[in-house]
């Protein structure tokens, strides 16, 4: 199989979520997907941009979609749901002929040719598929109880994202199952973790991420699987803050789905960046025979 698409790593990919970027690249390579970085990509503006102005937000994202098209990419994928939401919203705005001129005025450039956008999760599910993953697994994740946590915006709103189910998404569940893991029915799959509130309003994050950890713990979750840099950071890096605020003592590893998928496909702990995680997953992975 050979698939080739444009790749938008997003700012956190070179900062707080280097291991997501690294494992995404390694997994895609293993699955025969060629990721072509958009040369000179810029920040999509994330949440701050759309809370200031929608046209500004669209222009910051559109710059990347236009660049990608110039570099010959029809489709761009991104691992980050927040980038995905912004790029998709921009994509929709520039398809609208009455709105496009406003974006073009800010960009000072035509947006007629722009790439479309999907998540790397969607790409793996739709272009590779579960059968191919099952066949490629060399180290099954057996004896591992995982809870898949999608976060709020990977699939919402459904009209915009057009992928999976907005209330009960299954993409990561299916991938983990194909890798041999036992997937727990996690009822808070799409609840919010506190998002970017971490720095300005830590109390909101400790409350919301605390709920997620409470429920995960009650299900005997051994590892939480995520697809969002912000969710991963709130649950992993901030797990100590959550514990201190709520009087709990959780110690649940929170990994990216690409890290577990990568291990199942035979990649090494180093190749999927396991050492970057704050709550160390290696004891459980070793116990389950994955490492």
């Amino acid at each position: 199989m050979s698939i080739s698409v444009g790749y938008y790593p997003g700012c956190s990919g070179s900062g707080t979520s280097v291991e997501y970027d690294k494992s995404t690249r390694a997994v895609c390579k293993k699955l025969g997907i060629e990721l072509n970085d958009i040369d000179d990509w810029s920040c999509c503006g994330s949440t701050p941009a759309h809370t200031v102005n929608h046209t500004l937000s669209a222009a910051l994202s559109a710059r990347n979609l236009v660049l990608a098209a110039k570099q010959g990419q029809e489709e761009v994928v991104t691992p980050c749901p927040s980038c995905l939401a912004n790029l998709r919203t921009a994509s929709r705005k520039i398809e609208d002929e009455t709105y496009r001129p406003k974006v073009e005025a800010l960009l000072d450039e035509s947006c007629e040719k722009a790439a479309t956008v999907a998540s790397t999760l969607q790409l793996i599910v739709e272009k590779v598929g579960m059968d191919a993953i099952k066949k490629a697994v060399v180290k099954p994740l057996k004896d591992l109880n995982v809870a898949c946590y999608y976060g709020c915006i990977m699939n919402r709103p459904p009209e915009l994202m057009q992928f999976d189910d907005s209330e009960n998404p299954m993409a990561m569940d299916n991938i983990m199952e194909a890798c041999g893991a036992t997937v727990l029915p996690f009822p808070l799959k799409v609840e919010c973790c506190g998002a970017a509130g971490g720095m300005p309003r830590k109390d909101l994050v400790t409350e919301l991420s605390g709920r997620l950890l409470d429920v995960a713990a009650s299900l005997n979750t051994e590892i939480i699987v995520t697809a969002c840099p912000l969710c991963q950071m709130n649950l992993d890096l901030r797990q100590g803050q959550v514990n201190r605020a709520n009087g709990t003592s959780y110690d649940i590893p929170v990994v990216y789905f690409t890290q577990l998928l990568g291990l199942a496909l035979g990649l090494s702990a180093e190749e999927v960046g396991l050492s970057k995680l704050v709550v160390d997953p290696t004891p459980r992975l070793r116990f389950a025979g994955v490492l």
Binding site: H54, A59, L106, A196, L204
Partner: protein, 189 residues
């Protein structure tokens, strides 16, 4: 509980919210689905369905001065679950835009964080975490906010010390410049 006088609806406010969001707020029949699913409801001063009602009633001040519109994380739960297909999250966004323009920022730290983030993008083309943190600290004086994370983060090399400069950073800063010059906010109306 604060009482809100309903005798003088600000019709211009209703019209502006409708036009800038492209949503028909009048179809909201207060089923409460948005509030029921809102993860931030515990921290809101006015629940999201009440915000909708106050918009219908033209209560500009009460809405634009609420904390809720700043606390909303754009999680899209309300939009996904509204039986009338109202993009409620988009309305919350538009209310934030209007609150900014009117000079209200009832959650000063949230606004400061967003501003610091965008300044970093404007300057470097990509966001630079340490720069955002430093600028946020300057704006708010909250130095100790996340200092307890440093021992967990620094050994993992998760914070880049240098900004991520791109070749096209001027192109990005010009987007911001044109945005300010053209005052897109008003054009959107």
């Amino acid at each position: 509980m604060e009482t809100i006088p309903l005798n003088s609806p600000d019709k211009e406010f209703i019209r502006e919210v409708q036009e800038r969001s492209g949503q028909n707020v009048l179809t909201c029949y207060q089923c409460g689905n948005c509030t029921a699913g809102c993860p931030y409801n515990f921290a809101y001063d006015i629940s999201v369905s009440r915000v909708m009602r106050l918009v219908q009633l033209g209560q500009r001040e009460a809405v634009l001065k609420s904390h809720s519109i700043w606390l909303c994380a754009s999680c899209q739960s309300c939009t996904t679950r509204c039986p009338n297909n109202i993009d409620v999250a988009k309305i919350m966004d538009v209310l934030r835009h209007m609150a900014r323009e009117a000079g209200y920022a009832t959650e000063r730290n949230i606004k400061a964080f967003g501003d610091a983030f965008l300044e970093s993008v404007e300057k470097h083309g990509r966001v630079y975490e340490l720069g955002v943190t430093a600028s946020y600290v300057c704006k708010t004086g909250r130095f100790w906010t996340d200092i307890d994370l440093a021992p967990a983060m620094l050994p993992k090399n998760k914070l880049s010390i240098k900004p991520h400069e791109i070749r096209g950073k001027e192109h990005v800063s010009e987007i911001f410049k044109r945005f300010r010059e053209r005052d897109i906010a008003k054009e959107n109306r």
